[in-house]
Symmetry: C2
Subunit: 340 residues, 2 copies
């Protein structure tokens, strides 16, 4: 018997990307005929059958849930994981985690590996690269094979499945309104690239709050940074060159870095510049002053995602329920870094 | 065919602990004859065969490594995980994580689940409860079945396998000597229960440094706390009631909590009280003053653990190499919370 072959194996053997293999096997127009023929011939020779997975799965419940998150060193994702585990364990399920490290290839490889009989369903937050590429073939394939998926936080409209998200636009709007009520007018936003659905929604909320208070949006006050690396130099330039009296940051590490930069420049937080971040992590609680922040209720989000997945997996209805998108309401926690 | 039964199933059906089942099947003297008979009869009836796992495993390499860590919201463990992943991915292996949540039962259940054909070998740091109970039957069973295990950081002498540890005693001694050189004499230790091998080693190092500088060990200056919860009240009492000029904390969160308590009591860090913590995480870098700390080089530790495991798994020697314990040298990073 020939060994069982995976998308990853085909990609490696033919020296193409996993995405190319996946698209070629789906007969995508994006891939040239030559490449498609080569990939299909290879897949056929080695008897590649994605549907094997689903068959083996249908017959044997593992009582395991696979979780794929973009980053393990991240308070929000780890609290979501805790919530998933709490609910899943209570319902008799174990949880296995894989980390995509924000990489499309690792997301695909990990999901393919887990789908190979180890788990009954997935809970997933998309990697940065997957969102940037807008390529969701691997998710579509698993869903086609009858493996249920729940997306949380970083989701896409292109996949039909159960989803759990935060009211990102609304809560960003609430945070900016809080700045405005305390007298701030020159309000900055430090955010990540727009291909993150969450960053886009938060930016929308920021813009809505400014407009509804008749404050013009100043593009110079919107700083877009790479995802969560040390941006001290860029931030220093930003706060030096612009007159700013408040800043909303789309994650905790940007907020803490901003505070450090602002204090280093000799400004006082919050009397000169107020700060609000996203994610009520441990950094926010031990900074000085303590950081005003948006609690995302990760644990609640995780519990809800697990509940949606387990309901879907254990459903015995012939006609499946329509997919749901549940919204978690974030909470603005006012602490020392903003004026009340 | 009867369904495949696990230790967890037997424990649940007979309403006993997993540890009891495991010991009974090993014919341990700790378990009463009645209980043993009952468990063995049940296991026999359902055809429980732990060795099945090893057989299926020997025949089919998964190219997956299972990692079991006590906690996901923990800088040290997540950086070790990163190191494991970096090395493993480079060598063509995927990594699956399960979290024991410091629970013996969850450690056993997760390892049993992963050993069931999903992985080729384990990298593990023992849960608090496993260390407290001193029960390693589940590890012995897996090793007997030919599944290699590498232990890191929280290890035990009772299991023969490859291990990676930190020079905990030495580096704690170095930290205390650093305090003494800067003129401190009343040096406190904030630590966790002694059943953690790492806490015990760090306490040993603390004692050695004091003794070799002719400073008597004052038991009142050693505060033993539950593992990483909020201990603000106990710490406040500790720093109020004792005259202390320096404190060594066995983890980052104790150090940050101490700093917050000390500053709240009106003392200055470091001129009144110096602080050194373990784990060079993000908290240490963004506190004010920045925290002097012991870098545990988690990534290096993870890479080394993965290397030991993969070498062992890929070894084709008939006579196996003897097990190794590799020691990572920690580094004392001097920042603002201690006097240089």
């Amino acid at each position: 018997m020939k060994p069982k072959i995976t998308l990853k194996d085909i990609a490696r053997e033919l020296d193409v990307s996993i995405s190319t293999v996946s698209k070629a096997l789906k007969n995508s127009k994006e891939i040239s005929k030559d490449t498609k023929d080569r990939i299909k011939a290879f897949a056929k020779f080695y008897n590649y059958r994605p549907n094997n997975i689903a068959l083996s799965l249908k017959n044997k419940k593992t009582k395991n849930i696979g979780v794929v998150i973009p980053d393990i060193v991240h308070h929000f994702f780890t609290t979501v994981f805790r919530g998933i585990e709490m609910y899943a364990n209570k319902m008799g399920y174990n949880v296995i985690v894989c980390i995509s490290d924000e990489s499309f290839d690792k997301e695909v490889i990990n999901m393919e590996m887990l789908a190979n009989g180890s788990i009954d369903g997935f809970i997933l937050s998309l990697s940065a690269e997957t969102q940037r590429r807008n390529d969701f073939t691997h998710l579509k394939e698993l869903l086609d094979q009858g493996i249920p998926i729940v997306l949380f936080d970083r989701i896409t409209e292109e996949i039909e499945c159960d989803k759990v998200i935060l009211n990102d636009a609304e809560i960003a709007c609430e945070a900016v309104n809080h700045f405005i009520k305390s007298g701030c007018r020159k309000i900055a936003l430090i955010t990540t690239e727009n291909y993150f659905n969450v960053s886009e929604s938060r930016k929308d909320g920021y813009a809505v709050a400014l407009r509804s208070n008749n404050i013009e949006i100043d593009q110079n006050l919107i700083l877009t940074l790479p995802h969560e690396i040390d941006n001290t130099d860029v931030m220093t330039k930003f706060f030096k060159e612009n007159s700013i009296d408040a800043v909303l940051c789309v994650n905790e590490i940007f907020a803490i870095q901003s505070m450090s930069v602002i204090q280093h420049l000799g400004f006082n937080v919050p009397s000169d510049i107020s700060i609000i971040g996203f994610t009520d992590g441990i950094l926010s609680r031990y900074s000085s002053p303590k950081l005003s922040t948006i609690a995302q209720h990760g644990q609640e989000m995780g519990e809800l995602a697990a509940k949606l997945l387990i309901n879907r997996m254990e459903s015995v209805e012939v006609i499946e329920e329509p997919f749901k998108t549940e919204i978690i309401n974030a909470t603005l926690i006012k602490r020392g870094s903003s004026i009340n």
